[in-house]
Amino acid sequence: MRAGDRVRSWLLGGWAALALLYLFVPIFIVVLFSFNDNRGRFNFTWQGFTLDHWARPFENPDLAVALKNSLLIALISTVIAVVLGTFMALALVRYGSRGRTLVDFFIFLPLATPEVVLGAALLALFLTFAFNTGFATIVIAHAMFTISYVVVTVKARLEGMDRHIEEAAMDLGATEWTTFRKVTLPMIAPGVGAAALLAAAISVDDYVITSFNAGQTQTFPLFIFGATRQGVPPEVNVLATGLLVIVLALMGLNVVLQRRLARRDAARAADAHTASLPA
């Protein structure tokens, strides 16, 4: 029995390791080939190590524009989606009563719709109203399909929150707005931050919906897809790796910040406790 357990444990661990490896092989390849001293257009075979592409990641002007567009679109659409989505989550969790299930379902629908359908339907709308597709329509599309993710993420945070703290603030005479600003927002901040990160990540990475609504505007994923026929330049690998590193750094920073805040709060609570003790 004991030996059987150990074997089972090893098999399970081995399988998990293989699964993670499967997830990682392509990422490893992308990073590796950002250092490839490629000859010709295709960056498909390993030719030797070079740091050239890392030294000049923005050499291709089209690529630089595409990346700039992607980041700008992600920024604007994330702000829209986070503001609208956070308020929706707040309304659903705090004041939800009648009609909540219906609204929940309506918010869930875009998540359950294939991206092709979302992109195609939106393009049909823009065509019907002779609205030129481009930067603005990409922002609209991205804000539309990331709102649901924001609502879901912020809702999860709100549901785990102690309502009494807000009630206490209001009992002490704070207006609803002050309560929101000084109590609710700081408490859901990690959820809102996570939602913003998620929305931005989805926006930067989206190909399908963007391809329908981009018009002549290039984004990072559109550039890569378009480049596959002539060979994807290694600068793409450099920039994608750079983005990955930046996101990881931001996530790490978030963790450190949360820990520090938690420690500070704990210290304050302890201080308050000592101060309240009779001398």
């Binding site: 444990s9 699964a19 359950a112 195609a120």
Partner: protein
């Protein structure tokens, strides 16, 4: 007076909070879908434009012309979903029960691929599966691939790509539901002389069911509509319904037919979700998926 206005404000507030977001979703999600229904019933051609004509024939033609791509989308997505489950379940199980202090690190590893471009990761698969590449050569050595055979531009490559791209969508809900399972129930089962296999089958698995449903949906839905994998790792012989919709919309500009196809796809998936919802209870479904 003040009390009344406060009450009214209280009643209005939720709608003020919901309003802008709902409006955005209505204008850019609900109306486009209805408009698409309208477009799908139009007739005409790209040069002279399209007019509304109750052209239900478009639907019949779309199904008749592209039944192959529809079927392929469903089969590829179904196979990929099953493969995702087979790969992800032991992984999720390991993280939930055995990973100890490595748990968060392993979860980070699962979401990490999301932070590198989807298209670029799929391009990396092109490289990995390329003719004469290391993988193909090794598989040829052991006879799994014929000497003149290839992996790229094949059904295998497309399904492998889809499986790869949607694996985290399966693994995360599975992990969440396994993590929620009360260990004491499993202990109770073994205390009551259930074998480990029986305890797993009768306790763990049923309790993890919401995660299995959610994971399958989150994998199957985007996989059915995917066209990147078929475009980059396959040939027109592997094209799925997403490829057809995309080229009809953006290349051929046959809008009614494209709208009809995407409407059929949407309906198919909604019907699937409702079937799931009936089997599982609607509340559980939204909860599990979210």
């Amino acid at each position: 007076m003040l009390r009344l206005s406060l009450k009214r404000r209280r009643r209005l507030l939720p709608w003020l909070l919901l309003g802008p977001g709902l409006l955005w979703l209505v204008v850019f999600f609900a109306i486009p879908l209805l408009n698409q229904l309208n477009v799908s019933l139009q007739t005409g051609d790209p040069e002279s434009g399209y007019v509304f004509d109750w052209a239900f024939g478009t639907y019949a033609d779309a199904v008749a012309d592209y039944d192959e791509q529809f079927l392929r989308s469903i089969v590829y997505a179904a196979v990929a979903t099953v493969l995702c489950f087979v790969i992800a379940f032991p992984l999720a199980y390991f993280i939930a029960y055995r990973a100890g202090r490595w748990k968060n690190f392993m979860l980070l590893l699962i979401v990490l691929p999301f932070f590198m471009s989807y298209v670029l990761r799929t391009v990396a698969w092109q490289l990995i599966l390329a003719d004469g590449g290391w993988v193909v050569s090794r598989l040829q050595d052991v006879g799994l691939v014929a000497d003149d055979g290839r992996l790229l531009a094949s059904t295998t490559a497309v399904i492998a790509g889809i499986t790869y791209n949607f694996l985290p969508f399966m693994a995360l809900p599975l992990y969440v539901s396994l993590e929620k399972v009360d260990r004491r129930l499993i202990e109770a089962a073994t205390d009551l002389y259930a074998s480990r296999a029986t305890a797993f089958r009768r306790v763990t698995l049923p309790l993890a069911l919401p995660g299995i449903f959610a994971g399958s949906l989150l994998t199957f839905i985007p996989a059915t509509g995917d066209f990147i994998n078929a475009a980059l790792l396959g040939t027109p012989r592997q094209f799925m319904i997403g490829n057809v919709i995309q080229s009809k919309f953006l290349v051929i500009q046959d809008y009614p037919s494209a709208a009809a196809l995407s409407f059929i796809l949407m309906t198919f998936i909604l019907l699937g979700i409702f079937a799931y919802a009936r089997a599982l209870g609607a509340r559980n479904l939204t909860e599990a998926a979210i």
